[in-house]
């Protein structure tokens, strides 16, 4: 894993603001995530995490500011660069998991069928079950598979653990790490499940009230005797 090999930041978010009428939802959000890093986007509910992720993925246009992914402006053209796991049910619930994987192979030009087969096994995906009949944990695992079976260099996950049982959370975390160890991908994960994830992150982006409250290197925090959780409390309470 050679983090310094590529000079360009995977995510470069500069002074991004979003207004809806008079309401300021995001205010001058600035941060970067380096190639090969795993960054946690943390903050209380209503902090603007999901909105920010939608801007990063190019689904939403900011009022001002700019997002660059691997040096290119975020938008339609950058969709190939990223795999996004949204926070709510996004899969077609009338299909079986097997049907969904079959269609995914056609939808995504960078789909890797071998990887999909490997992840189906690793994440214990029930292929024959209709998506509407999957538990929350099973659905989250299928969503993760859909992101990781692609070759996209940036993976953005919005609350992958919400409502997910412990065993699924552990499976999800292990699978992400295994994928990360190849060093080809960068992850940005929005979560309020700090304990499950704190040993994974090497960078923290703390957001509250639509503004960046802190950006930290996790090992530096620990060297200073702070945990991710204590830092979170320090910033938000």
């Amino acid at each position: 894993m050679n983090i310094g090999a590529k000079a360009k930041q995977a995510i470069d978010c500069r002074q991004v603001s979003l207004r809806r009428g008079k309401k300021e939802i995001l205010r001058e959000v600035t941060f970067t995530v380096g190639h090969g890093q795993i960054a946690g986007l943390l903050g209380p509910n209503g902090a603007g995490k999901s909105t920010l992720l939608r801007i990063l993925t190019g689904l939403l246009e900011p009022t001002s500011g700019e997002v660059r992914l691997f040096g290119q402006p975020a938008g339609i053209s950058s969709l190939r660069q990223l795999a996004f796991l949204p926070d709510r049910e996004s899969l077609p619930h009338w299909l079986s998991a097997a049907d969904w994987l079959f269609f995914s192979e056609g939808i995504y030009p960078d789909w890797d069928p071998q990887k999909a087969a490997y992840l189906t096994d690793r994440l214990s995906i029930k292929l024959g079950t209709r998506i509407s009949d999957l538990s929350r944990g099973e659905e989250a695992r299928l969503q993760l598979l859909t992101c990781l079976a692609r070759k996209a260099p940036l993976v953005i996950l919005d609350e992958p653990f919400t409502g997910v049982d412990l065993i699924s959370r552990e499976q999800i975390a292990s699978t992400i790490i295994s994928d990360l160890a190849d060093g080809e991908r960068t992850f940005l994960i929005a979560t309020h499940d700090i304990r499950e994830m704190e040993n994974l992150f090497d960078r923290l982006i703390l957001i509250g009230g639509g503004q960046i409250q802190a950006v930290d290197d996790v090992e530096e925090l620990r060297t200073a005797g702070k945990s991710v959780e204590s830092r979170y409390r320090e910033v938000f309470s």
């Binding site: 894993m1 983090i3 795993i38 552990e170 975390a173 292990s174 699978t175 790490i177 295994s178 990360l180 160890a181 190849d182 060093g183 704190e198 040993n199 994974l200 992150f201 090497d202 090992e219 620990r222 060297t223 005797g225 702070k226 945990s227 991710v228 959780e229 204590s230």
Partner: protein
């Protein structure tokens, strides 16, 4: 991963650098012989994913243990505990010195020498 060595039992303090803690724990396992000379260690990816920590942390851990010659990596074959008993013995000695130094500090903090501390502790058991 070898089943006799179960790194899932690693205890992690989230407010100290993780690689330091893994270095300490693996070093102790080597000293104790739980990880015997020549034992193959899991790959960075296997270990990181088994205990769910960032792979960079495990890379740093292995680098540190390699620097102290306790483990050796052979390109294309993997990472192994050293076969050199003298290196393991030296590591044990360093750990012992470290522990004694800490105990001496405890002794000094209550106005005793190390020897007096040990004598006093034994006396109280009688």
């Amino acid at each position: 991963m070898d089943s006799f060595w179960n790194p899932e039992h690693f205890r992690i303090d989230p407010s100290r650098p993780l690689y330091e803690q893994f270095v300490e724990q693996i070093r102790a396992d080597i000293a104790r012989g739980v990880l015997g000379p020549g034992t193959r260690l899991p790959s960075v990816r296997e270990l990181a994913s088994a205990i769910r920590v960032n792979p960079t942390t495990i890379m740093r851990t292995y680098q540190e243990l390699e620097r102290s010659k306790l483990i050796v990596t052979f390109r294309g074959q993997g990472t192994f505990v050293t076969e050199r008993i003298d290196v393991i013995q030296a590591c044990k000695r360093a750990m012992a010195k470290d522990a004694v130094q800490k105990l001496r500090e405890v002794a000094e903090s209550i106005g005793l020498t190390l020897e007096e501390l040990l004598d006093l502790a034994k006396k109280e058991e009688d």
